[in-house]
């Protein structure tokens, strides 16, 4: 159980606050107007931003003061998910061997397995720059898969991909997360992504992280704050 208690995170203009719990293995979409603090919320969970007040716990363990590299969290960023000067294989080895050592034979098997799962079989020697955008996303997903941490955060990593490719990636995330049994929290702008992928929706608006609502219920009866943000755009 990921529980966020009385969280207050400082932002540029105002503070972001919220209290909520999310169950392991759920897929959660974080929706809301830009600048409302969706990425700030993710940063707070990942440990890139400290809390002013409050606590973050994962199955009883207090994460609040842990640095990012000690949290049970893996994260996909908008970009820079792979080191461009290292081969895909070397990048993935780092997920298993963060001390920088070479891959053991077992590691090798696991990495090749992960590459196969994301459809990049035989591309381990390539550098990220020689792959297409979709392939780079797949390689980054393979990284998250190998990290095998119980919480996966997605900070709009697929926003640069076309709709078809994005749907494909989301399906892959679903599969990967399902295998690991991980809680996935995904920031998105696109209601379609949220309804196809997520079981719950968390609205971030008006300096507040709202309580999770089941996706179908959320879109059937959107809260006022969400209607304002989408509604104005829809009327145009």
């Amino acid at each position: 159980m990921l529980s966020v208690e009385n969280m207050v995170v400082p932002m540029d203009s105002s503070d972001l606050s919220g209290t909520l719990t999310l169950a392991p293995g759920r897929r959660v979409a974080v929706l809301g107007p830009s600048g409302a603090g969706k990425s700030t919320f993710l940063d707070a969970l990942a440990g890139f931003r400290g809390l002013k007040v409050g606590q973050i716990r994962w199955s009883g363990e207090d994460l609040t003061s842990l640095p990012p590299d000690q949290r049970p969290v893996s994260i996909l960023f908008q970009d820079s998910n792979l080191f461009p000067h290292l081969s895909i294989f070397r990048n993935l080895t780092l997920a298993l061997r963060p001390g920088g050592r070479a891959a053991s034979p077992q590691d090798r098997l696991r990495i090749e397995g992960a590459l196969k799962r994301v459809g990049l079989e035989g591309m381990g020697d390539r550098k990220p720059g020689s792959l297409s955008g979709g392939q780079q996303s797949r390689a980054a997903l393979a990284r998250v898969m190998l990290q095998a941490r119980p919480i996966i955060l997605l900070d709009e990593p697929f926003s640069a991909l076309g709709p078809a490719l994005k749907a494909e990636m989301l399906a892959l995330v679903k599969e990967v997360a399902g295998n690991v049994g991980a809680l996935v929290i995904m920031v998105t702008h696109d209601p379609a992504d949220a309804s196809s992928f997520a079981e719950d929706v968390v609205l971030v608006a008006e300096n507040k992280v709202h309580l999770p609502v089941a996706t179908a219920a959320f879109f059937a009866n959107p809260p006022e704050a969400y209607r304002e943000y989408v509604g104005v755009a829809a009327e145009k």
Partner: protein, 506 residues
């Protein structure tokens, strides 16, 4: 954690190497009463020559930068690049070149003799200023040129469409720019010239042309009066502090930039006489910079081919050792200090002159070892310290960008500091590291400062060897050694810089 500890200890070592010598100097100095009448003259001369050097460099740079900004001609890019070369040119090499042009038997006097004019003498105040202008005219030109090229082209077009006269255009576009850049350029050059030692050593001297730095050297080498050297070092330190404050007030935001190679629209500078003037300025500046270097090369070849003496080769070996060790030390230092605090600390470390540092280190070492036997290690350390701010200026922005781009990925991967250094930092920073290493190596190779305080005949570096040969009037051997020094300095720079670029990851 380990990284933080490393950064802190690197900073502490640097601070100790800065403060230790200062404390030693204060401790040994005889107080204000120990000043002699000659010291005031040295102080006056130091300030006066720095004022003149700054003034002439900036005044002459204005027409040269203006011409380079608004004209396009073959070789313009090369000339602008060459303006960066004096930075890594060993002072003693430049002095050799200037003497062969402006000296007793130089080109200029040979020319004047045909008209029956009296001979000019290059030694003294005007020689010191001449050499300083040689080094700093390119610096001032590049600073001004950069600002000039930053004026949006639309402004020039607007001026042309308004039909502004040359005078009106100068007043609206160029004069504000000069007023903005020139004071800062002057301040930077003024400060550089305050601590310039090698030029004063070779072209100054005598009671009328002695800088404070030179007086420190004379007190140590000729009178072996350590108390007096310490007192003078204190004077120099005070001077550096005052100068530092002036420079911080006047210096432009970025004083050490590279001019972009974009000529301002060339179509509106019509008048033929203006073009002739511009061409004259560019040609004169190019000749002023290139003829002395060409003289070093042409005079050096016979000296080098005839076989440089045993002493020269020995000195070259020492210099290479010092340069390579300084480079390694400087990069090791720069690695953990590539952040804002580190850069400030390193600048504070060079605020005092190498001679002051040298004096302090001499005083510290003396109770334990024969300081003269430490000549090369001390030179290595001081050179690494002196190059550190430049290395950090080059590395810091790139290191910070790297941290910004990949710091989060590093954390989510839980990469160890060692893995980050080996797999990401070093490979991705190869280019700036190569450039920084090249600069450090060339600066250390050409340095004629602290070594002059410490060296005995067995432990000369190549610049010192050139100086000694000149002093002994072995001009051909000196020219050969100077050419060797020039080749080694530029060669080291080229090798390191190139090494950083080849197969660099981008």
């Amino acid at each position: 954690m380990a990284q933080r500890a490393l950064a802190i200890s690197a900073g502490l070592v640097l601070a100790a190497l800065t403060l230790g010598p200062i404390i030693a100097v204060f401790y040994r100095a005889g107080g204000v009463s120990a000043f002699r009448p000659g010291d005031l003259e040295a102080l006056q001369f130091t300030v006066w020559q720095a004022v003149l050097s700054g003034l002439f460099s900036v005044l002459l740079a204005i027409p040269v930068a203006r011409a380079l900004a608004r004209r396009q001609f073959p070789g313009r890019g090369i000339l602008i690049s060459l303006m960066g070369a004096p930075f890594i040119l060993p002072v003693i090499v430049a002095v050799m070149g200037l003497i062969s042009v402006f000296g007793q038997n130089g080109l200029l006097n040979a020319g004047l003799a045909t008209f029956g004019s009296p001979k000019l003498d290059v030694y003294g105040l005007h020689g010191v200023v001449l050499a300083h202008v040689f080094f700093n005219l390119p610096l001032a030109t590049r600073m001004l040129l950069q600002a000039w090229l930053a004026i949006p082209g639309e402004r020039f077009r607007l001026a042309a469409s308004l039909g502004l006269s040359p005078r009106a255009r100068f007043l609206t576009l160029e004069w504000p720019l000069i007023r903005r850049i020139a004071p800062g350029a002057f301040a930077v050059i003024f400060v550089i010239c305050l601590t310039s030692f090698a030029v004063a050593l070779t072209l100054g001297g005598g009671p009328r042309a002695t800088t404070v730095e030179l007086a420190i050297y004379q007190a140590m080498r000729f009178d072996f009066d350590l108390a007096r050297a310490a007192t003078l070092a204190m004077l120099q330190l005070g001077l550096a502090v005052v100068a530092g404050i002036i420079a911080l007030r006047l210096a432009p935001a970025q004083g050490f930039g590279v001019g972009r190679d974009r000529p301002v629209s060339t179509w509106s500078n019509g008048a033929a006489w203006a073009r002739i003037m511009d061409a004259t300025w560019v040609l004169a500046a190019a000749a002023f910079l290139l003829v002395p270097l060409a003289m070093v090369i042409s005079k050096g070849i016979p000296g080098l081919l005839d076989g440089a003496g045993q002493g020269t080769w020995q000195a070259a070996k020492h210099s290479l050792q010092v340069a390579l060790a300084s480079t390694a030390l400087c990069l090791l230092w720069a690695l953990p200090l590539a952040n804002r605090r580190g850069e400030l600390l390193s600048v504070a470390a060079i605020a005092m002159s190498p001679l002051v540092l040298g004096t302090g280190l001499f005083l510290i070492l003396r109770p334990f070892v024969n300081p003269f036997s430490m000549a090369l290690p001390v030179t290595t350390v001081v050179n690494a310290m002196m190059a550190l701010p430049f290395a950090l200026r080059i590395l810091r922005p790139e290191a910070e960008t790297l941290e910004q781009d990949f710091g989060r990925l590093r954390q989510t991967l839980r990469m160890s500091g060692w893995a980050w250094l080996r797999l990401v930092w070093l490979p991705r920073l190869r280019r700036p590291m190569g450039f920084a290493a090249g600069l450090t190596a060339a600066l250390a190779m050409g340095d004629l400062g602290v070594i002059a305080l410490f060296a005995d005949p067995d432990r000369a570096t190549l610049p010192l060897q050139v100086y000694r040969l000149m002093g002994a009037y072995q001009m051909e051997a000196a020219a050969g050694a100077a050419l060797l020094l020039l080749l080694l300095s530029f060669g080291l720079f080229w090798l390191f810089d190139r090494g950083g670029r080849i197969h660099a990851e981008r």
